[in-house]
Structures are given as C-alpha cells and as structure tokens.
C-alpha cells in the first residue's frame, strides 16, 4: 500500500514538473502570437523593407514614417560598444577570480559581482546620467554627454556580472586533472590558464558572452537615460542614439491603441523577440556542447 502511495506521489510530482515546463513554453508562444497579432497589421500599410531599411522614424508626422534603421543602428552601436568593453574585462575578471586570486580576494570579488548584478538598471542608468555623461561631454568637448558611448559604457556594467559569473563557473568546472597534467609538464600558471583552462572552458565562456550581450540588447531603462534618444542614424559613437527598446518604452504611452504607431511599436517588439531568440539559441547550443564536453 505504502508502495502504491509512493508511486502515486512520484507520478503527481512528475506531472507537475511537466506541466510547469509546458506552461513556460506556452507563455512564450502566447507572447509571440500576441506580438504578431498586434504588430503584423502594420505591414498592410508599410512594406517590411521600408520598415527595416527606412531611414526616418517620424511616427507622429503626417503622413507618419516608420523606418527603424536608425533604431537598429542605435541598438547595434550601443550593443557592440558594450560588448567590446565588457568582453575582455569580463573574461579577464573571470580568469582572475577563478585561477589567480587568493581565496579571500576571490570571495570578496564574487560578492561584489553579485551585488553589481542586483543593482536595478534604473539606478545604473541614473548613476551613468549624472556621472558618466558630464565626464564624456567634457572629455570630448561635445554639445551633450548623452551619447552612444555613454550607453555602451553603462550597459557594459550591466553585462559584466552575467559574463563574469557564468564564465567563472565554466572555468572553475574545468577538471583539476588537466591543470595537474599541465603543471607536471612544467607549464607555468599562465600557460596552463591560457592554453588549457581557457580552452577547455571556451564553450561556457562563449555562452556567458551571449547571455551578457542578450541582457544588453534587452535593456531599456538605463539606455533611455544616457543615450539622448535621438532617432538619427549615428555617424560616430559620440552622437546621441536611440535603441529599439527605448523607442517602445518611450512611445507606447502616447500611441493610440490599434493605430499604426501602436502596431509599429509591436513590430519593433517582433524584431527584438527574434534577435533575443537567436542569441539565446546560439548560447544554448554552446552550453549544450559544453555539457557534453565535445570538441570539434
């Protein structure tokens, strides 16, 4: 009897887990369907090409123009900038924390990184706005400090905790036996770290980068506060830009539900959804490869 009760319990737990798994998939699907439903109507009046490649985003002029190229460029500039800044620093920190730092330093740094991850993005944006942008304005003698560069630096701070903690996990997970083997061959610590450990942890580190960058692309508040929000195609990283996410957040309140502006904002949502989906997909593949320890 006891045995049957046990089996029943197992079965119920299994079903609950299955159900929650299915629920999350269903919710994602519903979100996507909702985006499509609200956004696709735009394309009855605007072609996909004009939407993606259009150089003008004038949603409230008459007639309105819905070209998101400047927004895409803004997002790319800020994201690539953030990646260029955060990847070397993030990987370097992860290697330092996992391989070189003494026990005590390591714990302090890890706690600091976790703290950094816990700071809400508005707060980081606020700090960026009042400290970073005046600095950039004065440094480069610009009319305004609210630029793509300010956005990139601010976002780099937000990507860093993700990159460092996931990359650090990947590095720490490299079995000791590889390090022993390298040491027994007279490899220095640096040679061991660089040629063996970093190599073995590479899939995990790439996944860390992807997730860090994923966070950057989806980020809205901080970016809105420091980039100046000008929907123009930027010619340098020292100009104001506006990103896809910031556009949605800034304009959703003033658009008419069911109108073409409203639909255009949802269409931007579709674009963002596809981008994040792709990045997560690639990150997943790498994480998976890491788990299977496969090479080449």
């Amino acid at each position: 009897m006891n045995y049957r009760a046990h089996k029943l319990k197992e079965a119920v737990i299994e079903k609950i887990i299955l159900l929650s798994g299915i629920t999350s998939i269903v919710i994602v699907l519903l979100i996507f369907i909702f985006l499509l439903k609200e956004g696709l109507s735009l394309f009855s009046s605007v072609s996909i090409k004009d939407f993606i490649m259009g150089r003008n985003w004038y949603p409230i002029s008459n007639p309105p123009q819905y070209g998101i190229l400047p927004l895409i460029m803004g997002s790319i500039l800020v994201t690539v900038g953030a990646a260029v800044l955060s990847i070397p620093v993030g990987i370097g920190s992860a290697l330092y924390i996992a391989e070189i730092a003494p026990q005590k330093t390591r714990e302090i740094l890890k706690a600091g990184i976790e703290l950094l991850a816990a700071i809400p993005s508005v707060v980081i944006g606020f700090i960026g706005m009042i400290t970073l942008s005046p600095l950039i304005k004065n440094l480069f003698h610009l009319p305004t400090g609210l630029t793509a560069l300010s956005g990139a630096i601010t976002l780099a701070f937000m990507a860093m905790p993700t990159i460092v903690s996931i990359a650090e996990d990947a590095i720490t997970a490299v079995p000791r036996q590889y390090r022993d083997a390298a040491m027994a061959m007279g490899a220095t610590r640096w040679q061991t770290t660089w040629r063996i450990v970093a190599h073995a942890a590479r899939p995990g580190m790439i996944a860390a980068l992807m997730l860090g960058i994923g966070r950057v692309i989806g980020e809205t508040m901080a970016v809105m506060m420091v980039t100046g929000n000008a929907a123009l195609i930027p010619h340098s990283i020292l100009q104001p830009v506006r990103t896809l996410t910031a556009t949605i957040a800034a304009e959703m309140g003033e658009s008419v539900q069911g109108g073409s502006h409203y639909a255009a904002l949802f269409a931007i949502g579709i674009v963002l959804f596809i981008i994040t989906f792709l990045i997560n997909g690639v990150a997943d593949i790498y994480l998976h490869r890491n788990r299977k320890k496969g090479l080449k």
Binding site: Q177, Y178, M185, G186, R195, H199, A200
Partner: protein
Amino acid sequence: MDDERNMTNEKSIIKTRNLNLFYENFHALIDITMEIPEQNITAIIGPSGCGKSTLLRVFNRMNDVIEGVRMEGEVDIDGQNILDPAVDMVALRKKVGMVFQRPNPFPLSIFDNITFGLEIHRLTQKKNFEVIVEHFLEQVLLWDDLKDKLHKSALSLSLEQQQRLCIARALTLNPEIILMDEPCSALDPIATMRIEELMQELKKEYSIVIVTHNMQQAARASDYTGYLYLGRLIEFGVTSQIFTAPREKLTENYISGRFG
C-alpha cells in the same frame, strides 16, 4: 631498520635521505631513505593511504600546490637536491615526467596533446611537429591506429589509448625519469598487460617509478620494489627477493595477503 639494506648495486638516479613530509600536522612520509636505480622499473607498493602517491609527487614537486605541505630531508636527482627552494621547477619537471592514475589527456586534439610540451618549452620549430608527433605516437604504439585522426579530440579515444597518449606526451619533454601513479587502475586486464609491455620497452631509455596497489603488477613488471606502510619504507630490494624472501615480517604479511 637498517638503511644500508635498502641500497642496490646499480647506479641510482633518485636518492632520498631522511625524507619527511607533513600535511599540516599529519606525518605522511617518515624518514624515507632509498636509492632508485637508473633505467629500471621500480615499484612502490603498499596499502591504500600509506603514502605512495605522496612519495611519487615529491620527485616532481607536485605536492607543492597543496597548502600546508612541509618537507624535510634530501632528495637528490642528478646530484641536485630538488627540495632546495632555489631549484628550477620547470627544468625539474622536464626531467621528471608524470603519468597519472586516471588518463588525463588535455581536451585538445591528439596532435595538440603531443605538441603542447614542445610549444610551451619551445623545444623545436613548428615545421618539425608532424615528424615528432609521428615519432612519439610510434613509440607508444598508437601511430597506426591514430594517424588518420590526429585532429580529433583526445577525449574521444579509449581509456587505454588515452593513457598511451599521456605517456607519449610525457616523453616529448625527453625526461630521464617517468613517474607513474597507478597508471593501469582505470584499465581492463588486457590493456594493463599491454601498458606493462610498453613499460618494458621504455625502461631501455628511461627510469620508471611506478606506484601500484596491485601486487601482481609489481611482481610482473618491476625490477625493484619498495614496500611502504603507514608512511615508512619498510623494505626495498630486488623485486624477486621482496616477493619470495622478504626480510621483514610486515612485508611478508602484506604480500601473502595476511595483512595487519
């Protein structure tokens, strides 16, 4: 125990004198004095936890990374006391190679496993790599099996092949001594036999020290045997003598299976 009885007539390559090792307060190796003869296979046997691995790891200073390790006494290799803090660790580890209990090829290609040591020590130019890889894989009898998949991951090999690759990897540094810590414990009996055959080939050029808790292996494959018990070297001598006419009661108990 009389130290003089632990000597052999051959030219020795490693000499320890009153070697003591502590893990914090734990006295893991006690007053070990022995001479390991050149170009022979020397087995270190003894029950689990008696200090075999610890002793082996003294010879290439691999214990150094463990926090709280302290060593006293002398260990001479080529007339140099390797416990001297000023010893050149890179040179020592080139001279004294190691093969581990679990095969641990790097998660790189077969080719890159062989060239790793050449690259970090800049032993030769890149253009010679192919010839060298072939040479060392030949030496461990892997070439015929692997010559068409040199760029596959070393982790895709069988355990025996991985262990052979690890031996080849150690050979690339042209060591004088090869330390092997239970190199066959992860392998099946047939693979074990073949690794032992390989050791017989290798001893023509290298001095081998092998740790094993498999007494048959020591009896079959080694020329000299040392018996460690609770951190002490109880007896050291020609393998056939140790196994047929041990001088010490403790040795006799151990090899006859009446242990304790």
